[in-house]
Amino acid sequence: MQDAVLFCIMVSLAGAVLMPAFTSNVVQKTYIEKENEEKVEEILHQFMTCKVDEFEHLNAENILNGAGINAFHDSLKPLIKNMLGREEMHRTYADLCTECIACQLRFSGKQLNILTKNFTEMTKAKLDEFMSEQLGSRYAYNFTIIWNPIAGFDFGGELSTGNPIPPDADIYTASTYTVMPSSLFTRDISILLENMRSYIENSVNMNSYISDFKEGRISKEEFKQYLTEFFVNLVDDIVWRGFGNGNINILDMTVDYIFRGVKNAAEDAFDDAINMTIITIMEAAGGNFSEMVTHLMKDGFCQLFPSANEPLPMKELISEVKASIKEQAKNFVNETVKKRVMGMVENMVDNRPLA
């Protein structure tokens, strides 16, 4: 009898060992995970290729609100829509998002282009609609698109919709690169790149330390020092000192681009003669239009740069803001780039001996 009981115990043990094989569905779970990963990729692909049938936004909506004008009032709606409304037809979601972030002119986490805030809001709403349609209520999502033309320097554009990502949730991710629309900025960058190329070529021809090092006339340490100086000068020229007579540098270009961008956007929104009507309406509502725009821009700058002095006239305020940005860029070069240059030179000379 004891043997029989022992046998039964062993059968029970076998059952316990085999139980996971009964209940486990690892293979199915793996396939479900794979399907979910693919679904995210597919939705991103749809985002890149599907077109928004109709999309519209209102330029300078916040200025109108600031002036106490209800843009959606029955009598004003058609007039304001004709003058400040912008309609985008049959554009892909990706095009819409890249255009939106290209005109945000975001710096230090704040959108400088005050005229296109409604564009950002409407694009977010359209994206929410698209994502909810594709995912339903079963999944939460976070969609973020970032444009950062100068790595490490906080300038560009950003659009984010959906929920913040919880730290403990199962997350499926997909990412891709997209093409930015051509702009004044991308055109100026290509001029700068040409300047950089010719500067490097000239410097290499003029300076003999490479051949000196190859032929053993200077030591390795001296060579490293020359190279570091060369790269640090190059970075300084690119970022804030500028090349040649025109003194083209990335900082001036960026700052000019920001202010030119805002000016162009303002002109674009209010250029037509008929748009004078809207200015008249706003002034009739009790405010001077140019004063309102100036005031809004001043508010924005003073929030960004608390050191800026608000009572100053706009032109001087801009100069002050430019100087502040320039100072930040110099610090950025000193603290971040120079250390990296030194590391890069060490790596280059020690690990890749010149042939």
Binding site: M1, A4, V11, G15, A21, D53
Partner: protein, 160 residues
């Protein structure tokens, strides 16, 4: 009295019978367990095989140079042309099945877009009572130069 002529018998408890019964029950449970595990494993593998078969058909059909690509239904970037898919004839479906090189299974497909964009298009799906295996993909659907909308492309596979 000789021993063989003695007809008297002694009845006593056969103690090994309950033990034998317990062992038999143990054996029965053990075999049931093994059979159950094997059956469950088999079913899962079959489901996975079916899914893989359907997924293979789907990937083959979605390839730009696959049978649907040759008919112009799959465009550049994996976009499906709704009007070309709708216009596929029975002969086209025979061509597609032959040129796909898929043997042993038959397949049909379905494309769903929102009702205002054209609703649902089905091609090659017959006799829905059979054991279908279906796999779906989210795809962009080309309606015309101005409109490309999201849709769901489903391939259904059954033994033919």
């Amino acid at each position: 009295m000789p021993f063989l002529r003695d007809k008297r018998g002694i009845s006593e408890e056969f103690t090994s019978l309950p033990a034998l019964m317990v062992v038999m029950i143990g054996f029965a449970i053990f075999f049931a367990l093994i059979a159950g595990v094997y059956h469950a494993y088999n079913e899962r593998m079959e489901a996975v095989d079916k899914y893989e078969a359907a997924n293979f058909v789907l990937e083959k059909l979605m390839a730009a140079d696959g049978p649907l690509g040759e008919k112009g239904v799959i465009m550049l970037g994996g976009v499906i042309d709704l009007s070309k898919l709708s216009n596929l004839t029975t002969n086209d479906m025979v061509d597609i099945r032959e040129s796909s090189g898929i043997v042993g299974v038959k397949f049909g497909f379905k494309l769903e877009v929102s009702a205002k964009s054209g609703g649902t298009v089905e091609k090659g799906i017959v006799n829905r009572q059979r054991g279908f295996i279906a796999v779906s993909r989210e795809v962009p659907v080309y309606l015309n130069d101005a409109q490309t909308v999201p849709g769901i492309f489903t391939v259904m596979v059954w033994k033919g």
